[in-house]
């Protein structure tokens, strides 16, 4: 497995990932940081906790890397995901893309984040004042509250 993918309980340093994708062939580097937000549906979030099925998460992240390299004709994609307890304002995700041209770097970085939120088995739990909540993508979420409508089979994104 590539060292271009890291799943760790330690703090993520974005420079580590940016450095991995900087090469003389590349004219553009885009680095995305996902940082932990302090509110959820109007409630104050105190901290977050991420849990991963690590073996599969590495595998799915590597699949995404390979897809993006093929689709956007670039060589350099590095992804870091933090797990465990993450305090507010810290970095939980880093995606760095290096490409000869900027357009591909922006698109590939955007796609990487979208895809990993849909297919990589990493879960986020938000702890807020008065409760806790596992977060899911809206289009995957099963709304199980009393008011929830029955869900049909996933029909793709809106």
């Amino acid at each position: 497995m590539s060292e271009m993918i890291v799943i760790t309980r330690e703090e993520l340093n974005p420079d580590d990932f940016t450095c991995l994708v900087r090469r003389d062939e590349n004219g553009a580097v885009v680095t995305f940081l996902g940082t932990t937000r302090d509110t959820f549906e109007g409630k104050r979030v105190i901290r977050l906790e991420y849990e991963a099925y690590e073996e599969m998460a590495y595998r799915k992240l590597e699949e995404i890397r390979q897809e993006l390299k093929a689709e956007f004709g670039l060589e350099d994609v590095a992804i870091g995901h933090r797990i465990g307890v993450v305090d507010i304002g810290e970095i939980s995700l880093v995606v760095a893309v290096g490409s000869p041209h900027r357009s591909e770097a922006f698109y590939a970085c955007h796609e990487a984040v979208n895809r990993l939120k849909h297919s990589v088995p990493i879960w986020k739990k938000e702890f807020y004042e008065g409760g806790e909540h596992w977060v899911a993508c809206e289009d995957h979420e099963f709304n199980e509250g009393a008011e929830a409508a029955p869900q049909a089979a996933p029909a793709g994104n809106d």
Binding site: E111, P121, A136
Partner: protein, 89 residues
């Protein structure tokens, strides 16, 4: 044959354990396994919610046949962020 099922995140909390062992006949499919596990852990998810299963680190179809020794995990909806209405370029 005996199969082991790992639970993560929401499912782990609801099941109250991270591993369940289930004995099912040879030729059992993912659908059969899900039904058996739902019987034992009805609190896992409401009946109308589809449970996603990974077999040997890949998302599996309901009709996938299972073998003894398969690594089986029940996968709750994955984490975070807003669903993105953008389509791919």
């Amino acid at each position: 044959m005996e199969l082991s099922v790992r639970f993560f995140a929401l499912y782990r909390e609801r099941a109250g354990c991270n591993l369940a062992k289930v004995t099912l006949p040879e030729g059992t499919t993912v659908a059969d396994l899900v039904a058996a596990v739902r019987d034992r852990f009805p609190q896992l998810a409401p009946p109308d919610v589809k449970i996603v299963v990974a077999v040997n680190e890949e998302y599996a179809e309901l009709e996938t046949s299972l073998q003894a020794g398969d690594e089986i995990c029940f996968i709750p909806p994955v984490s975070g962020g807003q669903a993105n209405p953008d389509t791919s370029p």
